[in-house]
């Protein structure tokens, strides 16, 4: 199976971004590296509930979700 290119990952990211644009648990959608080339990273503020679902793959591109909490600026 050929490695996923960054162009494939970008396309999958845009698809997922449109799907998740109103999802209040999502705090970032980007491109990361996976076992098979590039993948899509989805950052979450909180764990998903039983009724919420983010696909593991979009157009053959792996989707990796991770909980990062809230993001804040970093002054002293």
């Amino acid at each position: 199976m050929p490695a996923i290119t960054i162009e494939q990952a970008r396309a999958a990211k845009e698809t997922l971004r449109a799907l998740l644009s109103e999802h209040d648990a999502v705090n970032g959608i980007g491109i990361t590296s996976g076992d098979q080339g590039y993948a899509v990273a989805v950052n979450l503020r909180r764990p998903l509930t039983a009724n919420e679902h983010i696909p593991d793959y979009v157009d053959g591109v792996r989707v990796e979700t991770r909980i990062v909490g809230n993001v804040h600026k970093l002054p002293a």
């Binding site: 999502v26 705090n27 959608i29 950052n43 990062v68 002054p75 002293a76």
Partner: protein
């Protein structure tokens, strides 16, 4: 006293001192506000441990105040442990301040800085205007040099930042000259600003303490897996791996409201202390060749391999384009 007896005695002494310190009469002698007196944590000026002398164990008591200010407590320790007590006055124990938080002349990449009304951030690097204006510029975040849009052009910039005791006029090193406004109603790409440097203040523009020479802007975009580093006001020199790029829809909490960022770089520290903490905002992030890849501006609560949280970085080219300047190396 053998070790087990010393341990038991130590526990008994700590419990006894805790019970005593919540009594108003003794609490006032420690000079600590009564509202903060909560059990053992209130015993901030007395450390109780176990010391060894030639194979014999004693109760070790270390005082931050002169002995006469806590006589009641010491009398109780002596009553409980008798001659098996080693009492010493060690003075105030304080956190060691990082060199980046001190007053630094000439100005250097990575030191504490800020608009005079904010706490403190990091001097990212130096830049030069594309419009031909003479003189180096200080590059950092909007929220460090322009107080989240609330500063006025010309406001004084102090080094170290106010949180590190920088004051006006003694520590003024420059004045705000330009910033990219943070926008709460549409996606942002950068959190950045520049200040000029007052005449007579020298700068070291081409060297990053702990990392070596700054070699300009990276020719290629950062990629997942790239190793990067920074030197910042709080955590000093640290390293990380890029974990995501082209990160969109990142909502960052500011005083002026939640602000969305697109096109960001995410990194995860490889050190046991994490890559960044509060005060590192504005740090220049460089790749393994010493080339700038971005400007650190935010961090997450959790996440990353060590769960210290992830760090977010503005890509450097949009930063320089927004401020119409280039790196000064």
């Amino acid at each position: 006293m053998d070790l087990n007896a010393a341990r038991s005695m130590k526990v008994e002494i700590r419990q006894r001192l805790s019970s005593m310190v919540v009594q108003p009469g003794i609490a006032s002698k420690l000079g600590i506000a009564a509202r903060r007196m909560e059990g053992i944590t209130a015993l901030r000026s007395i450390a109780v441990g176990i010391g060894a002398v030639g194979g014999d164990f004693k109760i070790a008591v270390r005082l931050q105040h002169p002995k006469d200010s806590v006589d009641d407590l010491l009398n109780e320790v002596t009553r409980l442990a008798g001659a098996e007590t080693d009492i010493r006055y060690v003075g105030k124990v304080s956190k060691r301040q990082s060199p980046q938080q001190e007053r630094v002349r000439p100005l250097r990449i990575g030191c504490s800085i800020g608009q005079f009304q904010i706490t403190a951030g990091t001097l990212g690097c130096f830049a030069k205007s594309r419009t031909g204006a003479v003189g180096p510029l200080i590059l950092s975040n909007n929220h460090v040099l322009a107080d989240e849009n609330r500063a006025k052009i010309g406001d004084p910039i102090v080094q170290p930042g106010a949180f590190d005791h920088g004051t006006v006029p003694a520590d003024v090193v420059g004045h705000l000259v330009n910033f990219e406004p943070l926008n709460t109603s549409r996606p942002n790409l950068v959190d950045c600003a520049v200040a000029d440097v007052v005449t007579g203040t020298d700068v070291v523009s081409n060297m990053i303490d702990g990392l070596g020479p700054l070699r300009g802007v990276a020719s290629a975009e950062a990629q997942p897996g790239d190793r990067v580093s920074k030197t910042g006001r709080t955590t000093g020199t640290t390293a990380a791996l890029v974990t995501a790029v082209e990160l969109d829809n990142v909502v960052v909490g500011y005083y002026i409201g939640d602000i969305q960022f697109n096109g960001q770089i995410e990194v995860d520290g490889v050190d046991l202390t994490g890559f960044s903490q509060g005060g590192d905002s504005g740090s220049l992030v460089v790749n393994s060749a010493g080339e700038a890849i971005g400007l650190l501006f935010a961090g997450s609560d959790t996440g990353g391999a060590n769960n210290f949280g992830l760090t977010y970085v503005n890509p450097i080219r949009p930063v320089l384009d927004a401020l119409n300047c280039d790196l000064l190396v």
